[in-house]
Symmetry: C2
Subunit: 200 residues, 2 copies
């Protein structure tokens, strides 16, 4: 079970006590704290204070700080992870372009960078991030499953692995603060990924 799913399941199992307004208030408070003060000022305690919620309530829904961070991130994210433009090259361009834009405007990039930073010092955070990513590769792999059905993509391509590979480049750009990529440059990156490096 993924971290996110586990959190959802936990939330569902206490359905009777669940108050959606409270949950929303907690996520909102968490986002504000993160945006205002960064990861350094982010704690369950600070979120509880700002949301006027009890710490046990927060821990019941989000067993770890990172699962809460990931929920804050996912809540803001409106990127279609498996765009369908009809061709693999434009699907990938669309996805990477949307991710870069989402990270570069608003707070999505800052929150995700916080999650990744957190995962470098806390093994539980690392596990939660890996689980979140596995779920995303599964969903986004749809791009490659569709392209295989069209015979556009090679048989041996593994959809989830291909998804992991193509999104690695923008991850690195996020983590080295180089999100501004001109469309021609991004098209060139996609060309490397889709056509490979070999001379024909």
């Amino acid at each position: 079970m993924t971290g996110k799913k586990a959190a959802e399941a936990r939330r569902m199992s206490i359905g009777a006590q669940r108050n959606p307004a409270s949950q929303e208030a907690i996520l909102q408070a968490a986002e504000e704290i993160l945006v205002e003060g960064g990861l350094g000022s982010f704690s369950i305690e600070a979120v509880a204070r700002r949301a006027h919620a009890g710490k046990p309530t927060i821990y019941r829904w989000w067993p770890t700080r990172t699962i809460l961070l990931l929920d804050v991130y996912h809540r803001q994210k409106f990127v279609d992870i498996a765009p369908d433009t009809g061709a693999i090259e434009t699907d990938i361009f669309q996805l990477l372009s949307d991710l870069l834009e989402f990270w570069n405007t608003g707070h999505g990039g800052a929150v995700f960078r916080s999650v990744i930073a957190e995962a470098q010092t806390d093994p539980a955070a690392s596990k939660a991030l890996a689980a979140y990513m596995a779920e995303r590769y599964q969903q986004g792999g749809e791009i490659f499953r569709r392209a295989k059905a069209r015979d556009e993509v090679a048989d041996w391509v593994v959809p989830e692995l291909a998804m992991e590979i193509i999104t690695s480049f923008v991850w690195k750009r996020l983590l080295t603060d180089r999100l501004e990529i001109a469309p021609e440059q991004l098209r060139l990156v996609v060309r490397h990924l889709v056509h490979g490096l070999k001379a024909q």
Copy 2:
């Protein structure tokens, strides 16, 4: 600081600068602190104390914490960034395999994860990391320059960009704590990168 003390500090740092053992002692102390206590216990102050060095000396050589972290990392790194096996596919396999092994054994992975985490909260750190990476792409781009000279790789491939793309995947594996990759699996990743995704 009084004029006299400042002059003393300068003399001390100048003296130390002529003594390579001191620089080595500082790097050694920095590495030990990082390995023992992680990024949380890492500070110029702690390094100075452990190395019996003055803080001004350290700051003269390493103007920021991250530059010191990057030096600690680079000092441990014995990976050939541009292996020459005679074919692009085996060059890339060799490089990614060596990076994964280096990160997965010893402290290389932990130190580099610390550097990347640091870069997420400190813009100066982010800049230092980006500069370090740019240098590495330049050096590692040799793989693609050689392959282009052999007509093995397409004309439009940009060596530095290709280097950035192919190393992104292992970065992500490092950051999500999934460095254990079977050789067949890694060969499959390299196949995606070298041959692209398109059906022939």
